[in-house]
Amino acid sequence: MLELKNIKKQFGGRTILDNFNMQVPDGQITAIVGPSGAGKTTLLRCISGLEKTNSGSFILDGKTFDPANNRDNDNVIGVVFQDFQLFPNLTVLDNITLAPQLVLKQSKAEAEKRAQELIDQLNLTGKESLYPYQLSGGQKQRVAIVRALAINPKILCYDEPTSALDPDLRQTVESIILSLKQDNMTQIVVTHDMQFAENIADQIVRVEPIKA
């Protein structure tokens, strides 16, 4: 379980998060909702270590850790970005196997075997040697999910997973997230889409803008 305690985050004097507390139970889906500008994405960036918090602590499985300064590969938090941020110079397979080889020190064969399982699971079979520009939005997102999963994260985070997609693809994202839950993956989903949040989440956390 991931626990956030008294998290405070300021940007140049403006307080985005103040005394924020949250619990993310294992194997469940936690949706973070709130109006735009409330700090949902900032919260996600703090959890994934892209932003440093001003104060407060993160506790993962009973031990404190600092996501912003986390080189320990056991406490990995995967992120699926809103605009996916696939690496355009690498094929789908290389996008997925790069980190497992460089960071987890897997052999090429090992990394590719694991990648292939995930590729098949997320319905990307046959796309391995394509480059990101050759994929549709939904396919790019699934590659981003596979890439995040390939480093065996403890928690998988999504930033607005429905916003860059056609409305009819929302269903697909829902079923992917729910099927990963079946595999016991702990997931945090930031969304402004209340309907979507209610469809998938075990727990909905509201982030409200702080009045100055």
Binding site: N73, I77, Q85, N89, L98, L102, V103, Y131
Partner: protein, 213 residues
């Protein structure tokens, strides 16, 4: 025809000097330019200022003047170069500045999200640069680098000012001695051949990077 075969050896030996300067300048100043561009975008302010001053100095004065200063000026403060080394030193210093600016533009064109995406995958900064950022930067800068590369072939003729025997000088010598423009026509043809080879190689490089967008 007889005359051509008579002067060709001297022209070719001049062309060899041109090629040597071209080749070594390129080999040294591209990686140095990448390093300098990283410094130009660095968070360390004094490093940025020094490099900005260096780029301003190198781009703001004629290469001819820089050659003269390196060969005739530096000995005054005790730094003595052989002619050939002086030429290489000046060319590398000058071209590194241009390449640094080109690469700076390339680096700044890369989405911050690419760095973040690499970071959450736990890639180190060096791995991120090598595997993700630099390939994308290279694709962006190849056309501009190509321009500078072609310029460099012709700029190398400036080495005559410190008495090095390059292609243009060889042609000049023959023209003055034999009172005919023919050697200079040949010089033009040899420059064209060299730029044609460079253009061909650059096109191959661009094609290599065309497989992704």
């Amino acid at each position: 025809m007889h005359y051509v075969s008579e002067i060709l050896p001297s022209l070719l030996s001049g062309a060899w000097m041109t090629i040597k300067i071209f080749f070594w300048t390129l080999i040294a100043s591209i990686p140095l330019g990448i390093l300098a561009s990283l410094g130009l975008t660095s968070r360390i302010a004094p490093l940025r200022w020094i490099l900005k001053f260096y780029v301003w100095l190198m781009r703001g004065t004629p290469l001819l003047l820089q050659l003269i200063f390196v060969f005739y000026g530096l000995p005054i403060i005790g730094v003595i170069f052989q002619r050939y080394d002086a030429a290489l030193f000046a060319f590398i210093l000058n071209y590194t500045a241009y390449f640094a600016e080109i690469f700076r533009g390339g680096f700044q064109a890369i989405d911050q999200g690419q760095y973040e995406s690499a970071r959450v995958l736990r890639l180190t900064r060096a791995q991120t640069l090598r595997k993700i950022v630099i390939p994308q930067v290279v694709k962006i800068v190849v056309p501009s680098i190509g321009n500078e590369t072609i310029n460099l072939i012709k700029d190398s003729s400036l080495v005559y000012v410190i008495g090095l025997g390059d292609l243009l000088r060889a042609g000049n010598v023959a023209t003055a001695r034999d009172v005919t423009l023919l050697p200079l026509v040949l010089v033009g043809v040899i420059y064209l051949l060299m730029t044609a080879v460079a253009t061909f190689v650059l096109r191959k490089v661009e094609q290599h990077y065309r497989s992704w967008r």
